[in-house]
Amino acid sequence: MSVEPRVRQFLLNNYLFTDDDAALGNDDSLLQKGIVDSTGMMELIAFLEEQFAIRIDDDEMVPDNLDSVNNIVAFLARKSTTRSARAGA
């Protein structure tokens, strides 16, 4: 499964408690819509670190990176590019 459906499924099952794909838009703000609270954000970070084998630094824990499906997917893509670049160097 590619990144986006995995992230979506995690959010749908664990915060919206549904299988209904229509319940979450890719640009919906997780914080503003009350989908994720502060402890939920910790769970989300743990999920991303574990599932995508990355380490999220404190200064990366900002809404620009984590506040919607699209932000998360883009963030993961950037992390993966950085990692490949480092690996290639």
Partner: protein, 659 residues
């Protein structure tokens, strides 16, 4: 405390005695020592007695000299000695030594207003045979419970809802009240979780006769208009408070059985234990709960107080599995769904106290409401300060002082704004202080079934009803006093004094006494300047000042820790039978919740991944709603006379540690 029950036939037809016997049998856990009845024509009164004062002669019902006024009573009148002396001086003659007997004579002299003379905790049913009128009254703040059901033919009442069900009152769920629980944690009186069954609100009376049923209020929490506070030097007020509390404790030691105390390790119960110690040469016995989880356990603080005061202390260690196993029976006693497991250890603790030979304990509830102790008061103060400059980046940082786990500078900025920013634009809204809590709790409603959600959407908004119930002076009060009022009218009687208080105590025939809820203490504190309660962000300022030097410094200065028990965590390892009630089939059968959503929540919870308050409240709220429905609605058992099975002393599964 005890249990009272009764039936008044409003059409004048006679009441059948066996019905009264069934009612009393259903609440016998509250009063295992004796039963008594008065059945005459249209009135039937029943009583189950927990003997505490005048062990030999205090059997109820009690009557006046002419046998024209009859009373059954649950609770204590702490100033009964003073009242008795006054009544005897006026020529009344007494046939017992009990506190109950002052009620009939006070009623003869003062009529319905007699309640104003009482200092105590009480639910009273008084039959005036001459006027053929029944009077029910409940204490000012809601320590003693009292429920009723009325139709054109009769009024049925009892200390617990079980007694009404035993009398044949139908058990039907009250969806609007469930909605309130999933917002406020408790329904607003007179609502209960049962359709048609009402709670007599604290501070109110009810009269019933051939003309019908009427209710009215005789007391309420009241605060001065902003600015008109008690003006006296702080030191003098601290002295006054200490002597008032001292007397509130003193009169609560009146009993013909030994009196113990609960000790949480917090300020409030430590103050009580310290004051008791000054009144007795007998070693005070104290009881506490210990948890394995360091985040919940307060044992070191308890031990500091025990060492300082030299009490005879007994601690009950409570494991998560024990809580999970005991939840279903606890809901039998709360008679209402709850959002936390915190009541369970309180029930086990009363069983522990009883097994140690105690049937009366003093306890510290009410101090946070009366003296301004809760975080929600501080949170509201910071939010109000923030609202004055909503774009400020640093004003919300003050919230970190209250909730150190909030990493506001980094990941939490967006969350803090979306959570604590609730209602920031309307600082004059009556519920400004409570909006973030209610909003978070209401998120649990996403689990309601679709048709329940639409049924609830069609009801009048609950906050409109709450707003309509507020006293006229409310808007002229200081914001802290408004928040105190809301807390004192909703969570205090609806949850803390009932689901976590009376019901858990009386499940094992133990009476709790609450010095901070002495109405003289409440009225004194209400008139204080708010800065003597919440000084900047330091809670219970005057109480701490009054007790400085009399308690270990560690207790006076420790950060406040709310009493919590393991919620979902208790179920991850233990899988009690009641979890079957969250199966898709049972969820669909009972109809409250969406089976698919709950399925996701249960999987998340039992995998150990649910850590947030939101998931915890939803899980326990759903589970206890299912248990409640299962026990009271789906399988209404004929209530039996079962003293032993409903008493858990001696069978408590907790490990006992005598310190």
């Amino acid at each position: 405390m005890c249990a009272i029950t009764g039936v008044l036939n409003l059409l004048g037809a006679p009441v059948a005695a066996p019905r009264l016997i069934d009612m009393v049998a259903s609440v016998r856990h509250r009063g295992p020592d004796d039963t008594g009845f008065h059945v005459q024509g249209p009135i039937g009164l029943g009583h189950a007695r927990l003997a505490v004062i005048d062990l030999a002669g205090g059997a109820q019902p009690i009557h006046n000299e002419a046998h024209t006024v009859w009373v059954v009573f649950n609770g204590e009148i702490f100033n009964y000695l003073e009242l008795r002396a006054e009544l005897e001086a006026r020529g009344h003659t007494f046939y017992t030594q009990s506190d109950t007997e002052v009620l009939v004579h006070l009623y003869e002299d003062y009529g319905r207003d007699f309640v104003q003379r009482l200092n105590g905790q009480f639910a009273i049913a008084l039959w005036d045979a001459g006027a053929r009128r029944l009077l029910l009254v409940r204490d000012r703040v809601g320590i003693a419970p009292l429920f009723y059901y009325a139709n054109p033919a009769e009024l049925v009442f009892g200390s617990e809802i079980k007694a009404l069900l035993a009398a044949g009152v139908p058990a039907r769920p009250h969806l609007a009240a469930i909605d309130q629980i999933f917002t406020w944690w408790a329904p607003l009186a007179p609502d209960t979780a049962f359709e048609g069954i009402h709670e007599l609100p604290p501070g109110e009376w009810l009269e019933a006769d051939a003309r019908g049923v009427r209710t009215g209020k005789y007391w309420d929490f009241d605060y001065p208009a902003s600015g008109n506070y008690t003006a006296a030097p702080e030191a003098a007020l601290a002295d006054q408070l200490r002597s008032l509390l001292d007397d509130a404790v003193h009169i609560r030691l009146r009993a013909d059985v030994p009196v113990g105390a609960y000790l949480s390790g917090g300020l409030d119960s430590s103050v009580i234990a310290s004051l008791i110690n000054q009144h007795t040469d007998v070693k005070l016995c104290t009881f506490s709960i210990g948890f394995a989880s360091a985040g919940l356990d307060e044992t070191p603080y308890q031990q500091a107080v025990v060492d300082d005061l030299g009490t005879q202390h007994a601690r009950m260690d409570c494991e998560g599995g024990t809580i999970a196993d005991a939840l279903a029976d606890t809901i039998w006693h709360t008679e209402i769904p709850v959002l936390r497991t915190a009541p369970v250890p309180m029930r086990l603790l009363s069983g522990f106290a009883r097994a140690n030979g105690f049937r009366v304990v003093l306890t510290g509830e009410g101090s946070d409401e009366v003296f301004g102790g809760y975080d929600i008061f501080k949170e509201a103060k910071v939010r109000r300060f923030w609202a004055a400059r909503p774009d400020s980046a640093w004003r919300p940082l003050l919230l970190r002082r209250l909730y150190p786990y909030l990493d506001i500078t980094r990941r939490g900025q967006g969350y803090v704004r979306s959570f604590f920013g609730q209602g920031l634009g309307d600082v004059e809204a009556f519920a400004f202080s409570h909006l973030p809590r209610w909003h978070t709790t209401a998120l649990c409603k996403q689990f309601f079934a679709a048709d329940v959600q639409s049924a609830l959407a069609a009801l009048p908004p609950m906050d409109v009803r709450l707003a309509a119930s507020l006293p006229t002076g409310f808007t002229r009060w200081h914001p802290l006093n408004r928040a105190q009022y809301l807390e004192s009218k909703l969570l205090l009687p609806g949850y803390l004094l009932s689901s976590q208080g009376d019901r858990m105590l009386m499940a094992n025939g133990v009476e709790g006494r609450f010095p901070y809820l002495d109405h003289r203490v409440i009225e004194f504190a209400a008139a204080l300047p708010p800065r003597l309660k919440l000084r900047v962000l330091r809670e219970k300022y005057l109480l701490k000042r009054a007790m400085a030097g009399r308690l270990p410094a560690a207790v006076l200065t420790r950060p406040k820790q709310p009493y919590r028990a393991p919620d979902i965590a208790a179920f991850v390892a233990a899988r009690p039978d009641c979890l079957d009630l969250m199966s898709p089939a049972t969820l669909r059968d009972y109809g409250y919740f969406d089976a698919v959503k709950v399925g996701h929540l249960v999987r998340k919870a039992l995998s150990g991944r649910a850590v947030g308050q939101r998931d915890n409240m939803a899980f326990i709220g759903i589970l206890t709603t299912q248990i409640w429905h299962h026990r009271f609605i789906a399988n209404p058992v004929r209530l039996q006379y079962r003293v032993d099975s409903s008493m858990s002393q001696g069978t408590t599964p907790c490990r006992l540690n005598h310190a």
